[in-house]
Structure formats: structure tokens, C-alpha cells
């Protein structure tokens, strides 16, 4: 399922809070998100705190846990399969991350976008 409006409220919102500080928790949101996207579910991976770095080009490519594929590879597959990546604007700002730094399929959003998704009934899970 592909949604052309990057900020449209999704059906499923998967939150990630970790980047290179925890490779397993950095990768899991995209693993679950990719399975969800390939099951035709409108899915957003919502990144906060250190996880917003995953949305920047190249950062996730070398983050690997155990025998899982690299986080960057799963992220790219997730986007190819119609998934969207939201990076929390309150978290990207202090880290100097701008829209120009982001991978394809990612956007910086605000608390209002998150609120809209939750009020709209998005199911959530967090890692």
C-alpha cells in the first residue's frame, strides 16, 4: 500500500527510539514495518530521540544486530514496499538534522502529525 502524502495519518505507527546505541532496537521497527508494509498495511516508522539519525543518509547502513540484515537495508526495503519514515522534529533540530539530510521516504514531522495519527486511531507499537 502506497500513500503519496508523506504526512497522512497511517493505520499502523511503529516507534523507534534507538540508533547506533542499540543495534537490535534500531533494526526492529523496520523489520516489523517491512512485514506490515508487505502485508498491504499503511505503515509509518516514527523515529524519536537517537533513532532520528537512522533517517539520515548512510547512518543506518552499518548498524547490524546478530544475523539480522543491516538496519539501512531493511529501511530501504520498507520504503520500497510503500512504508513511510517520520523523524520527530523536536529530535532532529537539536541534532542539526534537516530535510536535506534524509533518506528517500523520510520526512520531518511535528507533534501535531503524531497527535493526528493517534486521534485517527493508528495502532502503535514501540521499540
Amino acid at each position: 500500500m502506497t500513500t503519496t502524502d508523506m504526512t497522512a495519518p497511517p493505520a499502523l505507527l511503529i516507534q523507534g527510539t534507538h540508533g547506533a546505541d542499540d543495534a537490535e532496537k534500531a533494526t526492529l521497527p523496520f523489520i516489523v514495518g517491512n512485514v506490515s508494509a508487505t502485508a498491504d498495511q499503511d505503515t509509518v516508522v516514527f523515529l524519536t530521540s537517537e533513532a532520528v539519525r537512522l533517517a539520515t543518509r548512510g547512518y543506518a547502513d552499518d548498524i547490524t544486530f546478530a544475523d539480522h540484515p543491516p538496519a539501512g537495508k531493511v529501511l530501504a526495503e520498507f520504503v520500497t514496499n510503500g512504508g513511510r519514515v517520520w523523524a520527530c522534529g523536536a529530535c532532529t533540530g537539536p541534532r542539526g538534522i534537516t530535510a536535506e539530510d534524509l533518506v528517500e521516504g523520510a520526512a520531518i514531522v511535528t507533534a501535531a502529525n503524531l497527535t493526528e495519527a493517534l486521534v485517527g486511531g493508528a495502532a502503535t507499537v514501540a521499540f
Partner: protein, 84 residues
Amino acid sequence: MTAPTRTLDAPGLACIDLTPLIASTMRDLRPGDVLEVRTDDPAARVGVPAWCRLTGNPLTDTIADTTHPDDNTAFHITKKENAT
């Protein structure tokens, strides 16, 4: 039992890869075609049916290898008629 149109032999793959691979393989099929998925992942016995329910592609047969009751399974998934 309907003969499969295509077979996906997927030993060693678990949920990280299996259902995304099923999805990408199904894209190449025509509505009504049957994909046989062979897997040795025990969790696929609950995961593949869930994927079929979510996508609306009917799971038409589940064939368990009785010599390896906890492992090998073949699923027949029929591509739904209104697939894009």
C-alpha cells in the same frame, strides 16, 4: 488440490525475510495463480496464515511434512482476483 503455478523454496528464512519474499513473488503472478511456499520455519505455520488474512490472498492448502512435524510446511496461496 490445485497445482501450484510457482514454487518458492525458502529454507532458513524466518519472519524477517519470508513474508516480504512471498509478497514480492506474488506481485509477479496473475490473479488465480497459486504460489507454493516451502519453509522450515516452525513459526511460519502461524505467520503465513496471518499474512494471507491481512492481504486477502486465500491460503488454499497447508501441507505439513509429518516426518518433520515441527518444521517443514508447504503453503498454497492463491493470488486474489482484485489484486493490482
